[in-house]
Amino acid sequence: MHRVTRHAPGHGGADGAAPGDQGDTQHRHFTARRGFVAAAGFGMVGVYFLWAGYGAAPLGFDGGHEAPAEDGRGAAPEPSSAGHAGHGAAASGSSSEEFRKLSEAFVEQNKLADGSVQPGRAMQDHAMHGAAPQGPVDVYLMAYQWGYAPSVLRLETGVPYRFRMMAVDVAHGASLQLGRAGRMVRLRPGTQVEQALTFSQPGEYLLYCTVYCGLAHDRMQGRVIVSMREAQS
């Protein structure tokens, strides 16, 4: 025999005085009990297990090791900045003006005849022909209203690059369109962001701003041209 409840219409939601407000009865179907509803309310928390399956959560299914890099493949070998990530802003760094000078020097040293910039070019001129660079190749990318310096970068597949990026006037974004999807960072004036990137496929990729930065925001763009690294002799 089921205990029944009777509800009177009236005062805007269940009130303490109504008989039905005695709450659950043991004879209710379990789907209509408080405990079930309270537990089901946490249903979305179960998405954690998907994150863990992709190694993107603490105590993931990879044995609780460090979560992988943002692309889910596992962190790329970190250059000299290893260990800094996750520890917040360093105590010191470049100001916008210092970064501008570093960036301009980088462009000057690595500029090609067509105005594009090939990072590591200066280093390669002095190195053994075709030898792989020792360690990551530094790339300076400066974002400003409304462009990037350098505006055209020439990179190679399989080469680890260490991008050093900063916005020097207002906040900007730096997003690469990489075929079916993209990858972005947000840049704030005076804060240098470093990221290790290694391209696996050649192509000409659009670089564009993803943080609104003024009236010409949707004109702010650059190119990253990635070519296949030639076979080593």
Binding site: V4, G13, G20, H27, V47, L178, L197
Partner: protein, 556 residues
Amino acid sequence: MKEHHALIDGLKALPAADQRLLKSCIAAALAALLLGVVFGAATALARGGFVELGPLTGYRSMTAHAVSIFFYWLYFAQAGLLLVFATVFTSHRHGIEWRWAAWLGLALMLAGFAASLFGVSSGTPLLYDAPPELGREPSAALGATYVGYLLLAAGLFCVATAGIATTVAPLARGEHDRMPVVSFAACAWAGLLMVSAIAAANAFLPSALWALGLRGAPAEYATGWHILFHNMHYLPLMATVLVWYVLVEALTGVKSIFGARFSKIVFALYLVFVPPTSLYHMFLEPNLTEAVRVAGSLLSLFISVPTVTVFLVIVASLEVHARAHGAKGLFGWIGMLPWRNPAMSAIGFAVVNLALGGALSFVLIQEKLAALLSDTFFVPGYFHFLTVGTVTLTFLAALLYVLPALTGRPLWRPEVLRWMPHLASAGLALFGGAGIAAGYAGVPRRVLEVSYDGAAPAAWTALMSVVGSGGALMTAALLVYVYALLRNLMPLGTAAPAGGEALPEVRWGEVVTGAQRAWSGPLAVTILVGLTVAFTMLAFELMRALPLTAGAGAVH
């Protein structure tokens, strides 16, 4: 015999001065909605390539749309609904306590709206988050922008004060020994409004002083903005589920089968779960440490708990009563709801849209996916499911009930209005569907044109055309609502033809309930989790397929 109807009877019994105040709040809300919708249509059509606005007009339209909708439509409407719920379900005989504070609050909010519109129309377009660095130098337009937000915050604080006073006064007078559920929820809602008003002062006061030439440029703006923004975009959601809670009883006579105390605990959960989960808006901020990002993701997993639980309370209560009333099959009870009532139609679609928006929003709380999606069109793609498809439809549903009770005039063409959620949701499906696809592909938000001189994939422009088309459909539906409500508020021409007929409702509240099952809610949650898993897996797989390997680096 006429049914007892707590909401409508309570509104009709309010003192005339309270009715004038509530109608004024609703009029302000509709004005903001109208402006926001018009500017939103202009923005969507420009983005879709259907009209050419140029950058100055285009970005001003985008700013005016966001400011009018996010800051003013949603908050004028909340001010009115908060006072309705606080007074009708507490002590409608006494009306609104500290009415002068509510009037002052409304006046401050209106002054804020005027200042914000001046700022939008006369200065450099800053978009609604208005970072001071974009303004470059102090100016009257910049000052108006921040002062407008501060006036809005001060106004909300005053209205919330009146709302809390209204809910607690009967306790102080000894009329109640405990607070009714809706009054309790309204009190919690008002508390969060006050917290948000303080957060707004924290975010905007330094910038306002700078813009008025009274101090130097603020050193930090983004963090204060994100904290404020997080609270401000969850407040309408809390209001939404409370409106559902109230309207479902108005439409069906059904009250929660889980008791008052349980409902109060669930509404109180918003105070617990909303404030600590703001970090996920900041995942791309360069100074945020990895540990904070991970903590932000984990905390954000709990943001859905109060909303999902209220949804389950409502759906289980409805289903149990409908089954006791003879509903057959797994979903047969849904067909018995009064769908010809435009308010029922609106909140029905709002529930579906919330599921879609909620599932998509959960993709963004995973910090590893921020680099793929955070500043893309994925964001407006998902949040329009919430702002338009859920919150706005729900608030409009409430106004369809509240306004005729206040004016005494019948609703204009309810048989037309009940189809508007279909039209708005069809537009939303185009806007949101194409927008989400665009976001996955990397299309940036907050731009007017996406071709990048032909360097962007051709699909980007095509997707934006679909977004623009969807925006036009949503606009049409919302304009019909605005017309119907304004006509009720300020009767134009001949009298409305509805003849005072009551809107369709069902009365299931008196039915005896027993061991009826309530599977629809848990099934809906299962579908919600499934959608979230699918959208999240798609994002992870897209990241895996990128032709590059990325490692985190240092921040200096």
